[in-house]
Amino acid sequence: MSRFCSGKTDLMYLWNTPVVYHCHHFNLFLDQTIEDTLGPQKSYELRSNVAYRAWYQLLADAISNSDVSTPIEKLTLAKTIFKNMGHGKINLFWETNKGEAIGEFLHYGYSWKQKYGEFVKRFHPADPVAAGFARAAIEVSFNLPTFSLTTDETQCIAIDSEQCYFTIDLQSSPKDEYPLVDREYCENLEMLYRPGKYEEKVREVAKALKEFTAGVKGDERGLVEAFGVYVTMHLSNYYNGITYETLKYLEENKPFLTKPFANLAKESGHVCVFNTFGGILTSAEWESLYGKPSNDPELLISYLTGIARALGFGKWVIKDFEPNKLLVLRTYINYEAPYYLARFGHCKEPNNFFVRGASQAFMVLIDKLDWESEITLNDELYRKLFKEGIGWKVEETKSICTGSAYTEVVVTRE
Protein backbone atom coordinates (compact mmCIF):
# COMPACT_ATOMS: atom_id res chain seq x y z
CA MET A 1 0.00 0.00 0.00
CA SER A 2 1.38 3.37 -0.94
CA ARG A 3 1.19 5.59 2.16
CA PHE A 4 2.33 9.18 1.84
CA CYS A 5 2.87 11.39 4.90
CA SER A 6 3.13 15.01 3.89
CA GLY A 7 5.93 16.91 5.56
CA LYS A 8 4.23 20.15 4.60
CA THR A 9 0.79 19.52 6.10
CA ASP A 10 1.27 16.40 8.26
CA LEU A 11 -1.81 15.00 6.53
CA MET A 12 -1.68 11.42 5.27
CA TYR A 13 -2.75 9.74 2.04
CA LEU A 14 -3.04 6.31 0.52
CA TRP A 15 -2.05 7.00 -3.04
CA ASN A 16 -4.06 10.20 -3.55
CA THR A 17 -6.85 9.55 -1.06
CA PRO A 18 -6.79 11.30 2.33
CA VAL A 19 -6.62 8.87 5.24
CA VAL A 20 -6.12 9.16 8.98
CA TYR A 21 -5.58 6.74 11.85
CA HIS A 22 -8.45 6.45 14.30
CA CYS A 23 -9.35 3.99 17.02
CA HIS A 24 -12.56 2.09 17.65
CA HIS A 25 -13.58 4.51 20.42
CA PHE A 26 -13.73 7.35 17.91
CA ASN A 27 -15.28 5.25 15.16
CA LEU A 28 -18.05 3.88 17.34
CA PHE A 29 -18.83 7.13 19.13
CA LEU A 30 -19.02 9.19 15.94
CA ASP A 31 -21.22 6.61 14.21
CA GLN A 32 -23.40 6.48 17.32
CA THR A 33 -23.79 10.26 17.20
CA ILE A 34 -24.97 10.12 13.60
CA GLU A 35 -27.34 7.31 14.52
CA ASP A 36 -28.72 9.28 17.50
CA THR A 37 -29.37 12.25 15.19
CA LEU A 38 -30.89 10.57 12.17
CA GLY A 39 -32.24 7.34 13.60
CA PRO A 40 -30.87 3.88 12.82
CA GLN A 41 -32.22 3.52 9.28
CA LYS A 42 -31.50 6.96 7.83
CA SER A 43 -28.10 7.06 9.50
CA TYR A 44 -27.19 3.65 8.07
CA GLU A 45 -28.14 4.91 4.60
CA LEU A 46 -26.04 8.05 5.00
CA ARG A 47 -23.05 6.23 6.44
CA SER A 48 -23.03 3.46 3.84
CA ASN A 49 -23.51 5.94 0.98
CA VAL A 50 -20.70 8.18 2.23
CA ALA A 51 -18.52 5.14 2.85
CA TYR A 52 -19.25 3.86 -0.66
CA ARG A 53 -18.09 7.11 -2.24
CA ALA A 54 -14.98 7.31 -0.08
CA TRP A 55 -14.04 3.66 -0.72
CA TYR A 56 -14.73 4.02 -4.44
CA GLN A 57 -12.33 6.94 -4.60
CA LEU A 58 -9.61 4.93 -2.84
CA LEU A 59 -10.12 1.65 -4.72
CA ALA A 60 -10.24 3.32 -8.14
CA ASP A 61 -7.07 5.16 -7.17
CA ALA A 62 -5.36 1.98 -5.96
CA ILE A 63 -6.30 -0.04 -9.03
CA SER A 64 -5.13 2.64 -11.42
CA ASN A 65 -1.78 2.63 -9.62
CA SER A 66 -1.34 -1.14 -9.72
CA ASP A 67 -0.89 -3.77 -12.41
CA VAL A 68 -4.06 -5.75 -11.67
CA SER A 69 -6.32 -6.23 -14.68
CA THR A 70 -8.95 -8.95 -14.19
CA PRO A 71 -12.03 -8.53 -11.97
CA ILE A 72 -10.80 -11.20 -9.57
CA GLU A 73 -7.38 -9.57 -9.27
CA LYS A 74 -9.01 -6.22 -8.62
CA LEU A 75 -11.36 -7.71 -6.05
CA THR A 76 -8.46 -9.43 -4.30
CA LEU A 77 -6.54 -6.16 -4.16
CA ALA A 78 -9.57 -4.39 -2.74
CA LYS A 79 -10.05 -7.01 -0.01
CA THR A 80 -6.36 -6.85 0.87
CA ILE A 81 -6.51 -3.08 1.22
CA PHE A 82 -9.58 -3.38 3.45
CA LYS A 83 -7.83 -5.94 5.64
CA ASN A 84 -4.51 -4.10 5.81
CA MET A 85 -6.30 -0.92 6.88
CA GLY A 86 -7.62 -2.77 9.90
CA HIS A 87 -11.28 -2.99 8.86
CA GLY A 88 -11.51 -6.77 9.18
CA LYS A 89 -11.89 -9.54 6.64
CA ILE A 90 -14.55 -9.52 4.00
CA ASN A 91 -15.35 -12.07 1.34
CA LEU A 92 -17.15 -10.77 -1.73
CA PHE A 93 -19.11 -12.79 -4.30
CA TRP A 94 -20.65 -11.41 -7.47
CA GLU A 95 -22.45 -13.11 -10.32
CA THR A 96 -24.16 -11.08 -13.05
CA ASN A 97 -26.93 -9.34 -11.10
CA LYS A 98 -26.50 -10.45 -7.56
CA GLY A 99 -23.86 -10.86 -4.94
CA GLU A 100 -23.13 -11.21 -1.28
CA ALA A 101 -20.50 -10.27 1.25
CA ILE A 102 -19.53 -12.12 4.38
CA GLY A 103 -17.61 -10.23 7.00
CA GLU A 104 -15.40 -11.63 9.72
CA PHE A 105 -14.05 -9.46 12.50
CA LEU A 106 -15.43 -6.36 10.82
CA HIS A 107 -13.98 -3.49 12.81
CA TYR A 108 -17.22 -1.74 13.68
CA GLY A 109 -19.38 -4.74 14.56
CA TYR A 110 -16.60 -6.57 16.35
CA SER A 111 -15.33 -3.65 18.39
CA TRP A 112 -18.89 -2.61 19.25
CA LYS A 113 -19.45 -6.03 20.72
CA GLN A 114 -16.19 -5.81 22.64
CA LYS A 115 -16.83 -2.33 24.05
CA TYR A 116 -20.57 -2.26 24.65
CA GLY A 117 -21.90 -5.80 24.27
CA GLU A 118 -21.84 -6.52 27.98
CA PHE A 119 -23.83 -3.38 28.89
CA VAL A 120 -26.21 -2.56 26.07
CA LYS A 121 -28.35 -4.63 23.75
CA ARG A 122 -28.20 -3.51 20.13
CA PHE A 123 -31.02 -3.85 17.63
CA HIS A 124 -29.48 -2.46 14.44
CA PRO A 125 -26.52 -3.60 12.31
CA ALA A 126 -23.23 -1.78 12.81
CA ASP A 127 -21.28 -2.10 9.57
CA PRO A 128 -22.36 0.51 6.99
CA VAL A 129 -18.67 1.15 6.30
CA ALA A 130 -18.25 -2.45 5.16
CA ALA A 131 -21.53 -2.22 3.24
CA GLY A 132 -20.20 0.79 1.36
CA PHE A 133 -16.94 -1.01 0.72
CA ALA A 134 -18.73 -4.03 -0.75
CA ARG A 135 -20.60 -1.83 -3.25
CA ALA A 136 -17.49 0.09 -4.23
CA ALA A 137 -15.31 -3.00 -4.55
CA ILE A 138 -17.77 -4.83 -6.82
CA GLU A 139 -18.45 -1.78 -9.02
CA VAL A 140 -14.77 -0.97 -9.45
CA SER A 141 -13.70 -4.57 -10.00
CA PHE A 142 -16.43 -5.50 -12.49
CA ASN A 143 -16.54 -2.12 -14.26
CA LEU A 144 -20.15 -1.52 -13.30
CA PRO A 145 -21.61 1.98 -13.50
CA THR A 146 -21.36 4.01 -10.30
CA PHE A 147 -24.41 4.06 -8.03
CA SER A 148 -25.64 0.83 -9.63
CA LEU A 149 -25.69 -1.38 -6.54
CA THR A 150 -27.44 -1.51 -3.20
CA THR A 151 -26.50 -3.54 -0.13
CA ASP A 152 -28.42 -4.75 2.88
CA GLU A 153 -26.73 -5.95 6.06
CA THR A 154 -29.10 -8.70 7.13
CA GLN A 155 -26.88 -10.22 9.80
CA CYS A 156 -24.42 -8.56 12.17
CA ILE A 157 -22.44 -9.89 15.12
CA ALA A 158 -23.26 -6.72 17.05
CA ILE A 159 -26.89 -7.86 17.08
CA ASP A 160 -25.93 -11.38 18.07
CA SER A 161 -25.73 -13.00 14.62
CA GLU A 162 -22.99 -15.55 13.97
CA GLN A 163 -21.49 -13.45 11.20
CA CYS A 164 -21.93 -10.20 9.31
CA TYR A 165 -23.77 -10.84 6.05
CA PHE A 166 -24.72 -8.48 3.25
CA THR A 167 -26.84 -8.98 0.17
CA ILE A 168 -25.74 -7.01 -2.89
CA ASP A 169 -28.23 -6.21 -5.65
CA LEU A 170 -28.07 -4.58 -9.04
CA GLN A 171 -30.32 -1.69 -8.28
CA SER A 172 -29.73 2.02 -8.66
CA SER A 173 -28.86 3.88 -5.52
CA PRO A 174 -29.22 7.62 -4.85
CA LYS A 175 -26.60 9.68 -6.64
CA ASP A 176 -24.53 12.09 -4.58
CA GLU A 177 -21.95 13.62 -6.84
CA TYR A 178 -20.48 16.45 -4.81
CA PRO A 179 -16.66 16.45 -4.96
CA LEU A 180 -14.51 14.55 -2.51
CA VAL A 181 -11.18 16.02 -1.56
CA ASP A 182 -7.94 14.40 -2.61
CA ARG A 183 -4.24 14.88 -2.05
CA GLU A 184 -3.86 17.57 -4.66
CA TYR A 185 -6.65 19.63 -3.16
CA CYS A 186 -5.43 19.30 0.42
CA GLU A 187 -1.79 19.96 -0.33
CA ASN A 188 -2.56 23.03 -2.41
CA LEU A 189 -4.68 24.76 0.20
CA GLU A 190 -2.98 27.91 1.39
CA MET A 191 -1.28 27.22 4.68
CA LEU A 192 0.17 29.99 6.82
CA TYR A 193 2.38 27.93 9.12
CA ARG A 194 4.23 29.38 12.08
CA PRO A 195 6.18 27.00 14.36
CA GLY A 196 4.96 26.92 17.94
CA LYS A 197 6.36 26.00 21.33
CA TYR A 198 8.51 22.85 21.73
CA GLU A 199 8.58 22.54 17.94
CA GLU A 200 11.78 20.51 17.81
CA LYS A 201 10.45 17.83 20.13
CA VAL A 202 7.07 17.77 18.34
CA ARG A 203 8.75 17.18 14.99
CA GLU A 204 11.06 14.54 16.41
CA VAL A 205 8.16 12.58 17.90
CA ALA A 206 6.07 12.89 14.73
CA LYS A 207 8.91 11.60 12.61
CA ALA A 208 9.69 8.64 14.87
CA LEU A 209 6.07 7.59 15.12
CA LYS A 210 5.48 7.91 11.36
CA GLU A 211 8.39 5.56 10.83
CA PHE A 212 7.01 3.15 13.42
CA THR A 213 3.51 3.05 11.90
CA ALA A 214 4.75 2.59 8.34
CA GLY A 215 4.68 -1.18 8.72
CA VAL A 216 1.45 -1.44 10.70
CA LYS A 217 -1.29 -3.45 9.04
CA GLY A 218 -4.17 -5.77 9.91
CA ASP A 219 -3.37 -9.13 11.48
CA GLU A 220 -4.82 -12.46 10.31
CA ARG A 221 -8.24 -11.19 11.43
CA GLY A 222 -7.80 -7.96 9.51
CA LEU A 223 -7.64 -6.00 12.75
CA VAL A 224 -4.92 -3.74 14.10
CA GLU A 225 -4.88 -4.27 17.83
CA ALA A 226 -2.32 -1.91 19.33
CA PHE A 227 -1.94 0.46 22.30
CA GLY A 228 -5.01 -1.02 23.94
CA VAL A 229 -7.31 -0.05 21.07
CA TYR A 230 -8.39 -1.31 17.67
CA VAL A 231 -6.83 1.05 15.15
CA THR A 232 -8.03 1.68 11.62
CA MET A 233 -6.45 3.58 8.82
CA HIS A 234 -9.67 5.21 7.68
CA LEU A 235 -10.99 7.56 5.06
CA SER A 236 -11.08 11.23 5.99
CA ASN A 237 -13.83 11.76 3.44
CA TYR A 238 -15.94 9.23 5.35
CA TYR A 239 -15.54 10.94 8.70
CA ASN A 240 -16.08 14.39 7.30
CA GLY A 241 -18.91 13.29 5.03
CA ILE A 242 -21.01 11.81 7.80
CA THR A 243 -20.24 14.63 10.23
CA TYR A 244 -20.82 17.60 7.99
CA GLU A 245 -23.74 16.24 5.99
CA THR A 246 -25.49 15.59 9.32
CA LEU A 247 -24.53 19.02 10.64
CA LYS A 248 -25.91 20.63 7.50
CA TYR A 249 -29.15 18.71 7.87
CA LEU A 250 -29.49 19.98 11.45
CA GLU A 251 -28.63 23.57 10.55
CA GLU A 252 -31.37 23.57 7.92
CA ASN A 253 -34.01 21.60 9.80
CA LYS A 254 -33.37 21.54 13.55
CA PRO A 255 -30.86 24.26 14.43
CA PHE A 256 -31.50 23.89 18.18
CA LEU A 257 -29.89 20.42 17.95
CA THR A 258 -26.58 21.65 16.52
CA LYS A 259 -25.22 22.31 20.01
CA PRO A 260 -25.68 18.77 21.42
CA PHE A 261 -24.46 17.40 18.08
CA ALA A 262 -21.32 19.51 18.27
CA ASN A 263 -20.81 18.44 21.87
CA LEU A 264 -21.00 14.77 20.93
CA ALA A 265 -18.80 15.17 17.85
CA LYS A 266 -16.30 16.84 20.17
CA GLU A 267 -16.64 14.00 22.69
CA SER A 268 -15.74 11.48 19.97
CA GLY A 269 -12.42 13.33 19.72
CA HIS A 270 -12.01 13.39 23.47
CA VAL A 271 -12.62 9.66 23.96
CA CYS A 272 -10.34 8.88 21.02
CA VAL A 273 -7.35 10.90 22.13
CA PHE A 274 -7.69 9.94 25.77
CA ASN A 275 -7.56 6.24 24.94
CA THR A 276 -5.29 6.14 21.90
CA PHE A 277 -2.73 8.74 22.84
CA GLY A 278 -2.77 7.53 26.41
CA GLY A 279 -2.34 4.00 25.12
CA ILE A 280 0.62 5.05 22.99
CA LEU A 281 2.33 6.77 25.90
CA THR A 282 1.88 3.74 28.17
CA SER A 283 3.03 1.25 25.53
CA ALA A 284 6.19 -0.81 25.44
CA GLU A 285 6.89 0.63 21.98
CA TRP A 286 6.90 4.15 23.37
CA GLU A 287 9.07 3.13 26.27
CA SER A 288 11.63 1.73 23.83
CA LEU A 289 11.70 5.07 21.97
CA TYR A 290 11.51 7.57 24.83
CA GLY A 291 11.39 5.69 28.10
CA LYS A 292 8.41 5.80 30.45
CA PRO A 293 6.81 9.25 30.45
CA SER A 294 7.25 11.47 33.48
CA ASN A 295 4.79 14.04 34.81
CA ASP A 296 6.67 16.85 33.08
CA PRO A 297 3.73 18.74 31.49
CA GLU A 298 5.82 20.44 28.80
CA LEU A 299 7.25 17.15 27.66
CA LEU A 300 3.81 15.55 27.69
CA ILE A 301 2.18 18.28 25.61
CA SER A 302 4.96 18.06 23.03
CA TYR A 303 4.61 14.26 22.87
CA LEU A 304 0.85 14.54 22.39
CA THR A 305 1.15 17.13 19.63
CA GLY A 306 3.79 15.04 17.87
CA ILE A 307 1.53 11.99 18.01
CA ALA A 308 -1.29 14.02 16.44
CA ARG A 309 0.93 14.92 13.48
CA ALA A 310 2.13 11.34 13.13
CA LEU A 311 -1.42 9.98 12.88
CA GLY A 312 -2.27 12.28 9.98
CA PHE A 313 -4.29 14.85 11.90
CA GLY A 314 -2.51 17.78 10.29
CA LYS A 315 -0.14 20.58 11.22
CA TRP A 316 -0.89 20.94 14.92
CA VAL A 317 1.11 23.55 16.82
CA ILE A 318 1.28 24.59 20.46
CA LYS A 319 0.75 28.32 20.49
CA ASP A 320 0.61 28.72 24.25
CA PHE A 321 0.78 26.39 27.21
CA GLU A 322 0.64 27.01 30.94
CA PRO A 323 0.74 23.69 32.74
CA ASN A 324 -2.57 22.80 34.40
CA LYS A 325 -4.05 26.12 33.39
CA LEU A 326 -4.18 26.87 29.67
CA LEU A 327 -3.60 25.37 26.25
CA VAL A 328 -3.86 27.29 23.01
CA LEU A 329 -3.54 24.88 20.13
CA ARG A 330 -3.49 25.87 16.49
CA THR A 331 -3.93 23.69 13.47
CA TYR A 332 -2.69 25.37 10.31
CA ILE A 333 -4.35 22.54 8.45
CA ASN A 334 -6.29 19.60 9.83
CA TYR A 335 -8.06 16.66 8.25
CA GLU A 336 -11.54 18.11 8.86
CA ALA A 337 -11.33 21.50 7.15
CA PRO A 338 -10.51 20.64 3.49
CA TYR A 339 -13.67 18.56 3.06
CA TYR A 340 -15.90 21.28 4.49
CA LEU A 341 -14.33 23.99 2.35
CA ALA A 342 -14.64 21.96 -0.85
CA ARG A 343 -18.21 20.91 -0.12
CA PHE A 344 -19.78 23.99 1.41
CA GLY A 345 -17.29 26.86 1.24
CA HIS A 346 -16.98 29.01 4.33
CA CYS A 347 -19.32 28.73 7.29
CA LYS A 348 -20.45 31.17 9.96
CA GLU A 349 -19.70 29.06 13.03
CA PRO A 350 -16.45 27.22 13.79
CA ASN A 351 -16.86 23.49 13.33
CA ASN A 352 -13.61 21.57 13.73
CA PHE A 353 -15.08 19.32 16.39
CA PHE A 354 -12.33 16.72 16.52
CA VAL A 355 -9.67 19.34 17.26
CA ARG A 356 -11.81 20.60 20.16
CA GLY A 357 -12.21 17.19 21.77
CA ALA A 358 -8.61 16.20 21.17
CA SER A 359 -7.23 19.35 22.78
CA GLN A 360 -9.46 18.82 25.82
CA ALA A 361 -8.08 15.30 26.09
CA PHE A 362 -4.52 16.67 25.96
CA MET A 363 -5.12 18.66 29.15
CA VAL A 364 -7.00 15.82 30.77
CA LEU A 365 -4.16 13.36 30.10
CA ILE A 366 -1.68 15.77 31.65
CA ASP A 367 -3.91 16.79 34.55
CA LYS A 368 -5.71 13.65 35.66
CA LEU A 369 -3.15 10.86 35.23
CA ASP A 370 -0.03 10.16 37.25
CA TRP A 371 2.47 9.11 34.58
CA GLU A 372 4.95 7.93 37.16
CA SER A 373 2.57 5.25 38.40
CA GLU A 374 1.10 2.21 36.66
CA ILE A 375 -1.79 3.38 34.47
CA THR A 376 -4.49 1.08 33.15
CA LEU A 377 -6.52 2.82 30.50
CA ASN A 378 -9.91 1.22 30.04
CA ASP A 379 -13.59 2.04 29.76
CA GLU A 380 -14.04 1.71 33.52
CA LEU A 381 -11.41 4.38 34.19
CA TYR A 382 -12.95 6.62 31.56
CA ARG A 383 -16.39 6.44 33.10
CA LYS A 384 -15.05 7.02 36.59
CA LEU A 385 -12.96 10.05 35.59
CA PHE A 386 -15.66 11.81 33.60
CA LYS A 387 -18.91 10.85 35.31
CA GLU A 388 -19.31 14.39 36.69
CA GLY A 389 -17.83 16.11 33.64
CA ILE A 390 -14.47 16.58 31.96
CA GLY A 391 -13.14 19.40 34.11
CA TRP A 392 -11.73 21.33 31.16
CA LYS A 393 -13.64 23.50 28.73
CA VAL A 394 -12.68 24.26 25.15
CA GLU A 395 -13.58 27.01 22.75
CA GLU A 396 -12.80 27.06 19.05
CA THR A 397 -11.86 30.72 18.77
CA LYS A 398 -10.80 30.62 15.12
CA SER A 399 -11.58 28.17 12.35
CA ILE A 400 -10.21 27.46 8.89
CA CYS A 401 -13.80 26.74 7.88
CA THR A 402 -14.90 30.30 8.68
CA GLY A 403 -12.04 31.71 6.62
CA SER A 404 -9.33 32.09 9.26
CA ALA A 405 -5.76 31.16 8.45
CA TYR A 406 -5.83 28.48 11.12
CA THR A 407 -8.10 26.71 13.54
CA GLU A 408 -7.38 27.68 17.12
CA VAL A 409 -8.77 26.12 20.26
CA VAL A 410 -8.37 27.44 23.79
CA VAL A 411 -8.63 24.98 26.66
CA THR A 412 -9.06 26.19 30.26
CA ARG A 413 -10.29 24.71 33.50
CA GLU A 414 -14.03 24.54 34.11
Binding site: T37, K121, P260
Partner: protein, 197 residues
Protein backbone atom coordinates in the same frame (compact mmCIF):
# COMPACT_ATOMS: atom_id res chain seq x y z
CA UNK B 1 -19.72 22.72 47.36
CA UNK B 2 -21.39 20.32 44.99
CA UNK B 3 -25.11 20.30 44.51
CA UNK B 4 -26.58 17.79 42.09
CA UNK B 5 -25.59 18.28 38.47
CA UNK B 6 -29.17 18.17 37.23
CA UNK B 7 -31.26 21.05 38.51
CA UNK B 8 -33.19 19.59 41.42
CA UNK B 9 -36.15 21.37 42.93
CA UNK B 10 -34.57 22.15 46.28
CA UNK B 11 -31.08 23.31 47.24
CA UNK B 12 -29.53 21.86 50.41
CA UNK B 13 -26.51 24.10 50.40
CA UNK B 14 -27.65 26.76 52.83
CA UNK B 15 -28.71 24.21 55.45
CA UNK B 16 -25.50 22.19 55.60
CA UNK B 17 -22.71 24.72 55.51
CA UNK B 18 -21.89 24.74 59.21
CA UNK B 19 -22.11 21.02 59.92
CA UNK B 20 -18.66 19.60 60.72
CA UNK B 21 -17.83 16.13 59.50
CA UNK B 22 -20.82 15.94 57.16
CA UNK B 23 -19.84 14.30 53.86
CA UNK B 24 -23.16 14.16 52.05
CA UNK B 25 -26.91 14.54 52.39
CA UNK B 26 -29.55 12.96 50.19
CA UNK B 27 -33.28 13.63 50.28
CA UNK B 28 -35.19 10.97 48.39
CA UNK B 29 -38.82 10.46 47.54
CA UNK B 30 -40.83 7.51 48.68
CA UNK B 31 -41.87 5.11 47.16
CA UNK B 32 -39.92 5.82 43.96
CA UNK B 33 -36.57 6.40 45.62
CA UNK B 34 -35.86 9.34 43.31
CA UNK B 35 -33.38 12.01 44.30
CA UNK B 36 -35.11 15.19 45.37
CA UNK B 37 -32.11 17.06 46.70
CA UNK B 38 -28.51 16.40 47.62
CA UNK B 39 -25.32 17.98 48.75
CA UNK B 40 -21.83 16.46 48.70
CA UNK B 41 -18.75 17.91 50.35
CA UNK B 42 -16.17 19.07 47.78
CA UNK B 43 -13.58 17.09 49.75
CA UNK B 44 -15.58 13.92 49.54
CA UNK B 45 -15.03 11.08 47.09
CA UNK B 46 -18.71 10.17 47.16
CA UNK B 47 -20.20 9.80 43.69
CA UNK B 48 -23.50 11.67 43.98
CA UNK B 49 -25.42 10.16 41.10
CA UNK B 50 -24.68 6.52 41.62
CA UNK B 51 -24.90 6.73 45.41
CA UNK B 52 -28.33 8.32 45.13
CA UNK B 53 -29.43 5.51 42.88
CA UNK B 54 -28.52 2.85 45.39
CA UNK B 55 -29.87 4.83 48.36
CA UNK B 56 -33.21 4.83 46.58
CA UNK B 57 -33.09 1.04 46.78
CA UNK B 58 -32.05 1.24 50.43
CA UNK B 59 -34.90 3.44 51.60
CA UNK B 60 -37.47 1.32 49.77
CA UNK B 61 -36.12 -1.83 51.37
CA UNK B 62 -35.89 -0.05 54.71
CA UNK B 63 -39.57 0.92 54.71
CA UNK B 64 -40.61 -2.58 53.69
CA UNK B 65 -38.68 -4.13 56.57
CA UNK B 66 -40.18 -1.64 59.04
CA UNK B 67 -43.65 -2.51 57.81
CA UNK B 68 -42.96 -6.23 57.80
CA UNK B 69 -41.65 -6.21 61.37
CA UNK B 70 -44.45 -3.96 62.49
CA UNK B 71 -41.95 -1.49 63.89
CA UNK B 72 -43.39 1.91 64.75
CA UNK B 73 -42.81 4.31 61.92
CA UNK B 74 -40.37 7.18 61.96
CA UNK B 75 -37.46 5.11 63.24
CA UNK B 76 -33.91 6.05 62.50
CA UNK B 77 -31.55 3.50 61.01
CA UNK B 78 -27.82 3.81 61.63
CA UNK B 79 -25.32 2.08 59.36
CA UNK B 80 -21.81 2.14 60.80
CA UNK B 81 -18.76 1.41 58.70
CA UNK B 82 -15.33 2.74 57.96
CA UNK B 83 -14.91 5.59 57.14
CA UNK B 84 -18.57 6.65 57.20
CA UNK B 85 -21.70 6.46 59.30
CA UNK B 86 -25.04 6.67 57.49
CA UNK B 87 -28.19 7.85 59.22
CA UNK B 88 -31.44 7.03 57.46
CA UNK B 89 -34.66 8.64 58.63
CA UNK B 90 -38.12 9.18 57.33
CA UNK B 91 -39.03 12.89 57.13
CA UNK B 92 -42.67 12.40 56.23
CA UNK B 93 -44.87 10.02 54.27
CA UNK B 94 -43.19 11.01 50.99
CA UNK B 95 -39.59 11.79 51.84
CA UNK B 96 -36.59 10.15 53.50
CA UNK B 97 -33.25 11.68 54.34
CA UNK B 98 -29.84 10.02 54.39
CA UNK B 99 -26.88 11.79 55.96
CA UNK B 100 -23.33 10.53 55.64
CA UNK B 101 -20.87 11.61 58.31
CA UNK B 102 -17.22 10.94 58.97
CA UNK B 103 -16.78 8.17 61.53
CA UNK B 104 -14.86 10.59 63.72
CA UNK B 105 -18.00 12.58 64.59
CA UNK B 106 -19.76 11.33 67.70
CA UNK B 107 -23.10 9.60 67.19
CA UNK B 108 -24.78 12.05 69.52
CA UNK B 109 -23.66 15.03 67.44
CA UNK B 110 -24.72 13.29 64.24
CA UNK B 111 -28.23 12.66 65.58
CA UNK B 112 -28.55 16.21 66.80
CA UNK B 113 -27.40 17.68 63.47
CA UNK B 114 -29.81 15.40 61.62
CA UNK B 115 -32.69 16.48 63.82
CA UNK B 116 -31.86 20.16 63.22
CA UNK B 117 -31.55 19.58 59.49
CA UNK B 118 -34.95 17.90 59.29
CA UNK B 119 -36.55 20.74 61.26
CA UNK B 120 -35.21 23.22 58.73
CA UNK B 121 -36.19 21.43 55.55
CA UNK B 122 -39.46 19.83 56.62
CA UNK B 123 -41.52 23.03 56.18
CA UNK B 124 -40.49 23.14 52.55
CA UNK B 125 -41.24 19.48 51.95
CA UNK B 126 -44.74 19.79 53.53
CA UNK B 127 -45.84 21.64 50.39
CA UNK B 128 -44.54 19.01 47.98
CA UNK B 129 -46.01 15.71 46.96
CA UNK B 130 -44.13 13.23 44.80
CA UNK B 131 -46.65 13.61 42.02
CA UNK B 132 -44.83 16.91 41.41
CA UNK B 133 -41.78 14.81 40.65
CA UNK B 134 -43.15 13.65 37.45
CA UNK B 135 -42.27 10.97 35.02
CA UNK B 136 -39.73 13.24 33.36
CA UNK B 137 -37.59 13.47 36.48
CA UNK B 138 -37.71 9.72 36.97
CA UNK B 139 -36.68 9.08 33.40
CA UNK B 140 -33.80 11.57 33.45
CA UNK B 141 -32.52 10.23 36.76
CA UNK B 142 -32.75 6.68 35.46
CA UNK B 143 -30.81 7.57 32.33
CA UNK B 144 -28.09 9.31 34.28
CA UNK B 145 -27.84 6.40 36.65
CA UNK B 146 -27.43 3.69 34.05
CA UNK B 147 -25.98 5.30 30.92
CA UNK B 148 -22.44 4.44 29.98
CA UNK B 149 -21.29 7.98 29.13
CA UNK B 150 -23.16 9.93 31.80
CA UNK B 151 -21.52 13.27 31.08
CA UNK B 152 -23.02 13.35 27.58
CA UNK B 153 -26.19 11.36 28.21
CA UNK B 154 -28.47 14.39 27.97
CA UNK B 155 -26.90 15.47 24.69
CA UNK B 156 -27.61 12.01 23.32
CA UNK B 157 -31.15 12.17 24.63
CA UNK B 158 -31.63 15.53 22.95
CA UNK B 159 -30.57 14.17 19.56
CA UNK B 160 -32.56 10.98 19.91
CA UNK B 161 -35.78 12.74 20.97
CA UNK B 162 -35.42 15.99 19.06
CA UNK B 163 -36.05 17.90 22.28
CA UNK B 164 -33.94 20.93 23.20
CA UNK B 165 -31.36 19.80 25.76
CA UNK B 166 -32.12 22.77 28.05
CA UNK B 167 -35.54 21.25 28.80
CA UNK B 168 -33.92 18.29 30.53
CA UNK B 169 -32.48 20.55 33.22
CA UNK B 170 -36.03 21.19 34.39
CA UNK B 171 -37.78 17.94 33.51
CA UNK B 172 -40.92 18.83 35.44
CA UNK B 173 -41.66 21.24 32.60
CA UNK B 174 -41.81 18.50 29.93
CA UNK B 175 -45.15 17.95 28.21
CA UNK B 176 -46.80 14.55 28.05
CA UNK B 177 -45.78 14.18 24.44
CA UNK B 178 -42.19 15.03 25.29
CA UNK B 179 -42.19 12.63 28.23
CA UNK B 180 -43.25 9.84 25.89
CA UNK B 181 -40.39 10.70 23.54
CA UNK B 182 -38.00 10.75 26.49
CA UNK B 183 -39.24 7.34 27.57
CA UNK B 184 -38.54 5.90 24.13
CA UNK B 185 -35.22 7.74 24.00
CA UNK B 186 -34.07 6.34 27.34
CA UNK B 187 -34.98 2.83 26.21
CA UNK B 188 -33.06 3.32 22.97
CA UNK B 189 -29.93 4.69 24.62
CA UNK B 190 -29.85 2.02 27.30
CA UNK B 191 -30.71 -0.77 24.86
CA UNK B 192 -33.83 -1.76 26.81
CA UNK B 193 -37.11 -3.00 25.42
CA UNK B 194 -38.97 -1.79 28.48
CA UNK B 195 -38.21 0.20 31.61
CA UNK B 196 -38.71 -1.13 35.16
CA UNK B 197 -41.27 1.60 35.94
Amino acid sequence: MKDSAVSLPFSMRRYVKDIDGLQAVFVLTFPDGNLYSSWTSPHSSIDTESTAGYLGDLIRANRKVIKQLDIPENVQITIESQPFVLLVKEINKYFDIVTIFNRSVSLGIMRMELKNLIEQIEPHLKTVTPSALNEGVKLINFLKRYSIDTHVALDRLSLVTGIDVSKFHNPMGLTEEEIEKVREGVKYILGLQKLPF
